[in-house]
Symmetry: C2
Subunit: 421 residues, 2 copies
Amino acid sequence: MKPQISPRGRAMPASPIRKLMPLADEAKGRGIHVYHLNIGQPDLETPQALRDRLSHADRVLAYTPSGGTPEYLDALVGYYRGQGIDVESADLIATTGGSEALLFAFFATTSEGDEALVCEPYYTNYNSFATLAGVRLVPLRTRGEDGFHLPPREEWERALTPRTRLVLLCNPNNPTGTVYTREEIERVAAFCRDHGLFLIADEVYREFVYDGGHAISALTLPGFEDQVIVVDSLSKRYSACGIRLGALVTRNREVHQATLRMAQGRLSPPGLAQLAATGIPDVPAGYFASVAAEYQQRRDVLFAGLTGIPGVFLRKPEGAFYFIARLPVDDAEEFARFLLTDFSHQGATVMVAPAAGFYATPGLGRDEVRIAYVLKREDLEQAVAVLAAALPAYRRARGLASRPDAAAEPAEALRIQRPVV
Amino acid sequence: MKPQISPRGRAMPASPIRKLMPLADEAKGRGIHVYHLNIGQPDLETPQALRDRLSHADRVLAYTPSGGTPEYLDALVGYYRGQGIDVESADLIATTGGSEALLFAFFATTSEGDEALVCEPYYTNYNSFATLAGVRLVPLRTRGEDGFHLPPREEWERALTPRTRLVLLCNPNNPTGTVYTREEIERVAAFCRDHGLFLIADEVYREFVYDGGHAISALTLPGFEDQVIVVDSLSKRYSACGIRLGALVTRNREVHQATLRMAQGRLSPPGLAQLAATGIPDVPAGYFASVAAEYQQRRDVLFAGLTGIPGVFLRKPEGAFYFIARLPVDDAEEFARFLLTDFSHQGATVMVAPAAGFYATPGLGRDEVRIAYVLKREDLEQAVAVLAAALPAYRRARGLASRPDAAAEPAEALRIQRPVV
C-alpha cells in the first residue's frame, strides 16, 4: 500500500516569491537578462569582519551550545546595546535564521487550531510556519492609501476569538515598507496585554529606516516584558542571508525555557555562521548608516521611476527594502508570467512577486506586486524602463487600452492614480 | 494579563544528554577533569578537504536554493554512489542537520494525534520532534540480551492502531550500537508496505560498522520506493557536527515535494556548511575505513574495560559509537549525578547519559546508561578506571554491598552478570 502524505504536508504552500523561478530560468536560457525584484537578496558584500573569521575555524567543527556560543551571544548583546536595546545573553536563543525563531515562537505559544492576528499584506512565509503549527492566520487589512499603517483598536477587538493567542507584527514591514510609530506599537502591545496575548515582533529590518527615521523595537516598551518575543536575523542586517543565523529574544522566562528545550532537540544552531558572527564587534561604526543611505537612494530611484508610469500606484515606503505597488493589470501573477515568457525590452526583463500570496483574504492583492529594491541603482533604472514598456504591451496583449485612463478603466483604476507619498 | 505558553511548549522535553551539564561545569570549576561519555561529539578532525573550502566563500553570503546548492547535492549523489546507493539529486533535500530532516519527515507524514512505532531504547531527541508534531511514539521493546535486535512481526502487528503512520528506525542504532541484518530491515519494510506506513530510516551512522560488517541502507531495498524516507547527516560521517548539514532522501515524489515546500518556508539550508561539503569528493578514499578502524579500537577498549567491572552488563555493539550498559545501581541518573557531584578518581570523573530518557515505557532503563566512545583510547581507559572505582563507592554511599553478588542482589542483578557478546 502506498502511504499518504499528511494533510499539513499537502497544505504547505509553495513560495509565491520563488514559484515563478523556472520561468525566469527559461528566460535566461533564451539570453534575456532578468532583473530580480522578486526576492530580498541584497547584492551588498557581507562585511569583511564577518568573512575574515572563517579563517579561524577549529579543526573539529563541533556542536555548539544549543542556545548559541557565548561569543555569538555576547556579540548580539553588544549589537543590541548599540541600538539602545538593553538585553542580556539569558534573554537570547540563537536560531537558524529568523525562520527558526518564527518556528520556535509559534510552537511555544500555540496549540493546533489556535489563531494569530496579522496585518495583511504580510510576509508570505508566515503561512508556512502557521501551517506547520496548525495555526490560522487571521488577517487585519491594511491599505496602501493609509500607508499600510495599523487599523484602529476596534478592528483588533473585532478579530479576537477565544482561540487568539498572539499578534504577529513585522516592523519595519515586509512587504509594505511601513515603519510603525511608537504609538502604534504601544497600542498593539496594550491590546496584547489586555487580552493575555503574545506579541511576536519580527524586527529583522530594524536598521533599514530612511529619511532620518528610527524603528521602535518592541523590546524597548516598558511593562510588556511578558508579552514580547522578538524574531531577529543577521540575514539582511549584514547581507548574510545564506549563513542562516538569527535569534529569538524574550524576557518571558517560560518562553525562553520552552524555546531552549526545542533548541536542544535540534542540538545546535549553525556553527560556522556563529563563528562569522563573532566578527560583529569589528564591523565599522558607520556601516548601518552607509547601508541605509544606499537603500534610501535605491528606494528613491524606484519610487521616482514607478510613479512616472501611468496607472501605477505606490506610496513611498519608510523602511525595509520592499514595497507593494498596484499595477494597471487585471491579474498581477499573469503579468509576472508575461514578463518572463512573452516580453523583453532591450534584451532584459523583470521578475516581480505577485502580491496575492501576501494576503490571507481571497481576492486581495490581485493587481499588486511586491518589489524588492536590492539591486544597484543603474539596474533599478533599467528595471523601471522594462516595466514602463511592459505594462502597455501587456494591456494590448490582453485587449485593454494601452494606457489606463478614465474612459477605459473602472473606478478602481481612477482611484489608484492618486499616489499617497 | 500574562500570556501562557502552549501545552506543546510545556511538554517539550529537556535533553537527558545535556541536562546534567551544569553539574559537569561545576565539577570542572572544582578542578576535576570530566570525561564526556554522554554525548556523541567525536574528537576527530573534520577532514581538511571540507575545511579548506571555507577560504573560497563568496563576498556575498547569499541565500542558496531551498533544497540545497547543486554542488552540495552533486557531492551527496557521488557519496551515495560510492556506498552502492543509487540516488539522484531530485531525490534529495538539503537540511539543517539530520534534525531538520527528522522534523520535515514527521510533518510530511503525520497529523496531530497520529502514532509512530519506534524500538526502544531510541535516540532521545525523537521525543522532541514527536512533541512538536503532536505525534505519540509507540515503543516496541528491544533487549540487551537479544543484542537489541528487532522484535518479531507479531509484536509490530500488535502495536498497530488506526493512527499508526510510520516506523522510525535508526540503523546503525543510536543508542544501542546494533546494526540490523538485511532480513530485519526487509521485514520492517514489508510490514510498512502491508499497512501503508512510511519507514523513516535514520542512517546517520552508516559508515560506523565494525568487524567487517556493513549497514544495509533502506534505500537499497527494491520495491519499497514509496515507503522509504532516509534521514541523513554529515555530522558524524565527517566529524562536522557543528556545521548542521544533512539531507532528507526519498523517491516518494509527494513526500519530496511537500518537503521542498517546507524547505522553501525556511528559505535555505546553511550556506557555509554547504560550501564546506563541496569538499566531500576530495576526502581521501581510505577515510571511512580509517575512522571505522579507530572507533572499533575504542569500542574494544571500552568493552574490555567495562566487562571487567563486576555487575556491569553490556553487549559488544556492531556499529555507531554508542552502547547501552546496565550498571549495578538502583538509579542510573542518581549515579550520573554522584559521578559529577560526589566523586573523583585521580582528579577525574566521567559524565554519562542516564538511559531512562531513551525509553518511552516508564521505569525501563533506570539501571542503564548510554555511553559514547568518541574519545581517544587513553582517555577511555582512564574513564573505565573512574567507573570501576566509582561503582563500589556509590554502592557504599547508598548502603548497598560494595560488590554486587548473589547474596546482596535481587534476581535481576544475577541475570545481568551474564554478558552476551
